[in-house]
Amino acid sequence: MSILNLHNSLNTYLILAAILFGMGIYGLVTRRTLIGMLIASELILVGSSINFMAFNRFTAPDPTVGQIFTLFIMAIAAAEAAIGLSITIAVYRNYKSVDTEDIVDLKG
């Protein structure tokens, strides 16, 4: 298969999704701040979205279900980002840090 025809192959997309997902996992375990973790989790969500979209394009019996699922993921991601932002700010207010190691006591 020609390298210029990669975009017509399902595997390209699946591998890309796996790479993004892996990056997300890596970021999630190595990042030490809440915001870094938020960024990493966005990568994971995007990786799974690509999977949905790829299957929707190549194999789905219903041509819209993958797209709709991706749209839902986007909505949830937006909500997650908003909540994550507010939690980060609240944590920062109380601990003066967003480092996960500093946030150890239970009482907020």
Binding site: L4, A18, A40, I50, G84
Partner: protein
């Protein structure tokens, strides 16, 4: 893409680009976008400075939007740009500006899985999934997505109307909740 959409004297993404045979321009642009996505992802999960990580995330999302476009879903691609780049990335950037003035305060491992161990973990997960993806035989069905927007709208309001409503409620609760959490402590 719908062939009727691609008119215009300068139309360069012709319908042929998506029909199956190798259009070199589409292929080249696809490779560029693939690289953009991966480079953006690497910046996003490796950069020391969080703002750069967000910039990388935005880059990654732009690439992903282009990839959605290649998957015959211009609507989702545009929504990806609009929501992820225009809203999520900016929200995270705001969070950085509001909450993390000292970025490089401490160095060193964050937890047991950081460093090479984290790399190994993530690498194993990636390799496993790639293997799964490559080794599975997918049945390609002839009914494919042609990139219409009307169909999505119709489905959203018929088959998936319940999910749609639920997502709306989740968003509403998220907005109100984040307002309450973030507003706490400031009386203005």
């Amino acid at each position: 893409m719908n062939p009727t959409d691609a008119s215009g004297i300068l139309g360069f993404f012709t319908a042929d680009g998506f029909a199956g045979y190798a259009d070199p321009l589409a292929g080249i642009v696809f490779l560029i976008m693939l690289a953009t996505t991966i480079i953006g992802g690497i910046i996003a999960c490796n950069s020391e400075r969080l703002v750069r990580a967000v910039a990388g995330l935005a880059l990654c999302f732009i690439g992903v939007a282009a990839i959605y476009y290649y998957l015959n879903s211009p609507f989702v691609a545009m929504m990806q740009m609009l929501i992820y780049v225009g809203a999520v990335c900016i929200t995270i950037a705001f969070a950085i500006m509001l909450a993390a003035p000292e970025e490089n305060k401490k160095k060193g491992p964050a937890g047991p899985l950081s460093g090479p161990l984290g790399l190994i973990t993530a690498g194993l997960a990636t390799i496993g999934m790639i293997g799964l993806a490559v080794n599975t035989k997918f049945i390609v069905l002839p009914k494919v997505n042609m990139g219409g927007v009307k169909l999505i709208g119709a489905e959203l309001l018929t088959s998936y109307s319940m999910v749609f409503e639920l997502v709306s409620i989740v968003l509403l609760i998220a907005i109100i909740g984040s307002l309450i959490i973030a507003r706490h402590g400031r009386s203005k």
